[in-house]
């Protein structure tokens, strides 16, 4: 039996998850800020931050989509043991994990309904680095404007136009996380 899969979960789930959620919530409430997210040791290619996010937010109630390289035996086994989320196609997912290229096209994901805009997918986008430079962000949670590096501009502008429907994004790299909800207006700085 491969015992590697048993490793990498939270050491003290209630406390680790509480700190992780606070970082995730601060990131979502204040787009463009970078928070530290630690606790999980997921198998490659999943980053510490993305693994921690999955442990904090996902469970058997949340269908999960693994995109591209992230849909591999190791990750599936780790998700199955530690989280129990059903791994599904993009169309049926509440959460999705992958690189920006692998997650495209975004039109596959649920954007919610006019009556229930919360029934939309949350995408966890793995990036090489999270840099606070590049696009200018404005909107709720941002005092004036902040800058943040994003994989592209147009997709997020299109997403914001769907408001109150739309997708919400977490960006992860190593043990860092930042977020971009559907309310944020993205412009080329």
């Amino acid at each position: 039996m491969n015992t590697e899969v048993l490793k990498g979960g939270f050491g003290n789930a209630p406390v680790d998850a509480a700190y992780a959620f606070r970082a995730a919530m601060n990131a979502m409430a204040c787009p463009g800020t970078v928070e530290v997210l630690q606790g999980a040791q997921p198998p490659a290619p999943v980053s510490v931050a993305a693994g921690t996010l999955l442990l904090t937010l996902c469970d058997p109630d949340t269908p999960l989509h693994l995109a591209g390289d992230f849909d591999c035996e190791d990750v599936r086994a780790w998700v199955s043991f530690h989280i129990g989320a059903p791994v599904v196609a993009a169309e049926f997912s509440m959460f999705a994990l992958g690189s920006w290229e692998a997650l495209a096209p975004l039109s596959r994901f649920a954007i919610g309904t006019p009556e229930y805009p919360d029934r939309s997918a949350t995408l966890i986008v793995e990036q090489e680095v999270l840099a606070q430079e590049g696009m200018a962000l404005r909107g709720p949670g941002i005092k004036d404007s902040v800058t943040m590096s994003l994989p592209e501009t147009e997709a997020f502008q299109m997403n914001a136009m769907l408001f109150p429907l739309g997708l919400d994004f977490f960006f992860t790299s190593g043990d860092q996380v930042s977020a971009l909800p559907r309310t944020t207006k993205v412009e080329v700085a």
């Binding site: 700190y19 979502m28 937010l57 006019p114 909800p181 309310t183």
Partner: protein, 293 residues
Amino acid sequence: MSDYNFAYLDEQTKRMIRRAILKGLAIPGYQVPFASREMPMPYGWGTGGVQVSAATLTPADTLKVIDQGADDTTNAVSIRKFFEKTAGVATTEETGAASIIQTRHRIPEEDLREDQILVYQVPIPEPLRFLEPSEIETRKMHSLEEYGLMHVKLYEDIAKHGAIATSYAYPVKVEGRYVMDPSPIPKFDNPKMEMAAIQLFGAGREQRIYALPPYCKVVSLDFEDFPFEASKADHACDMCGATDSYLDEVIMDDSGGRMFVCSDTDYCTGRRQAGHIGAQAAAASAALEETAV
């Protein structure tokens, strides 16, 4: 610590609430349905706020609980004790020292910071509920941004009373989209909702969570010729002399005696410690000195 799971709720419940909070922050003012749990206190005692606080607390937090601005009323004391027992967190009565503040029907007078979180207890989260009893209808009205009925209600106030008579739970529009019930805070507090702290709203019986990220645009509904006015009792605090705080009127005796005091007890205490003194407090201490002589 205790034999409870950290902050009472089980982990799967917390994950469900946390997902609702994140969607709430992503769609400011929209009421996210959640599977509210039975709590060891009756509905109406802040079960929604307690569940949101439980899902948000970390062991490093310092919790403050207020009820109508006061730290020392039954509801505030029992919720503070609940989290001391089940989460082992530090508690405080000082607004500035708290990282999470759970509140019933007030926003503290002191400006909140970016590193603070304000959790509201909400009885009826749906601002349109008293105008339209059907959830199916109100949900459709929100989806179509059909808020004419609310303006009719405010207009009828003016037609009947000559002014907008709604003085608490005064409806607001968030980011130009969702009309939201700010919970039964006095309308005096409405302008404070554009703040630096994260605001989370929990309605336990009604099973709804909603949220406002920092610096979110929150506009109180009004008319051009009847603009919104954040009103309070036209008086200074009789204990600390503050003229800028929201006041409670307290009946003192059977012969019409009364006094006005800050509803925010921490604010009032802080001012008195700093040497400010109100009319009745001054009179009382003068009387005391006279008896001593």
